[in-house]
């Protein structure tokens, strides 16, 4: 299925990328994260010993969340607004 991946704040800077399209057979958010991690290089910023938050279709989720086609999946650091 096709996904739109978005990155914010420090992750956006580490990757030098604010968004990308991705074709994947992953079923869950965690599987997509693993797939991106396997690319190595700058994607190390998504490693599981780092604080990374995820949102699926603009709602916060954990790695067990199930994907649907054309979903928007965002990765970002802990939020610091207010």
């Amino acid at each position: 299925m096709k996904l739109r991946i978005r990155y914010f704040a420090s992750l956006r800077e580490s990757l030098g990328l604010s968004h990308e399209e991705m074709e994947t057979s992953a079923m869950t958010v965690g599987e997509v994260r693993s797939e991106l991690l396997a690319r190595g290089q700058a994607y190390v910023c998504l490693q599981r010993d780092r604080s990374v938050r995820m949102a699926l279709n603009q709602v916060m989720v954990n790695e067990e969340a199930v994907l649907e086609s054309n979903a928007e999946l965002a990765f970002f650091p802990p939020v610091t607004g207010g």
């Binding site: 914010f8 704040a9 709602v59 965002a74 939020v79 607004g81």
Partner: protein, 163 residues
């Protein structure tokens, strides 16, 4: 009717916002407001390296508005309030600038005090904003605080933002 959530780069005038929020609603007997501002941490730590030259806020357009709207729905369910309003600025800010406004109206003060604090606690850990500080030694992203997760936990909501 005032739009419930506004994300903007420009400053806001608290007096004008509060006047609009309770306009024509004679049930209102309490208006509680929180304003968050940019502090210069040098004045707290005494270290020149902590001087804040500027603070830049990034957000996730769309999710920001919907997540805050969801928080307001939760506030309306928990507390007996009439109106709630949030303004959050994004983009570059300077020390002493206003960042965020939360304003709530109710018949009596207790409900609007509680709802205002609830909304701020929620916003700190669940709304997708990120602060970047510019200091004399360079730019750094602000770290999330575990104490903000603890603040939300006292309302019975478990957050794992900083953790």
């Amino acid at each position: 009717m005032v739009s419930r959530v506004v994300i903007q780069t420009e400053d806001f005038n608290v007096t004008d916002v509060l006047a609009k929020l309770r306009e024509g609603d004679l049930r209102v007997g309490a208006v509680c407001t929180f304003v968050g501002t940019v502090r210069d941490t040098r004045l707290l730590s005494g270290k020149d390296t902590d001087a804040i030259v500027s603070l830049t806020l990034e957000h996730y357009p769309g999710m920001t508005e919907s997540s805050i709207a969801a928080m307001m729905d939760a506030a309306h369910q928990r507390f007996d309030i009439y109106q709630a309003h949030v303004i959050h600025r994004v983009g570059p800010l300077k020390p002493a600038d206003q960042i965020v406004l939360v304003a709530v109206t109710s018949a009596h003060r207790g409900e609007s005090f509680k709802a205002c604090e609830f909304l701020m606690d929620y916003l700190k850990t669940q709304a997708p904003f990120w602060k970047k500080e510019e200091t004399p030694s360079g730019s750094t992203w602000v770290d999330a605080r575990v104490s903000d997760d603890a603040a939300l936990a006292k309302w019975g909501i478990q957050a794992q933002n900083a953790g």
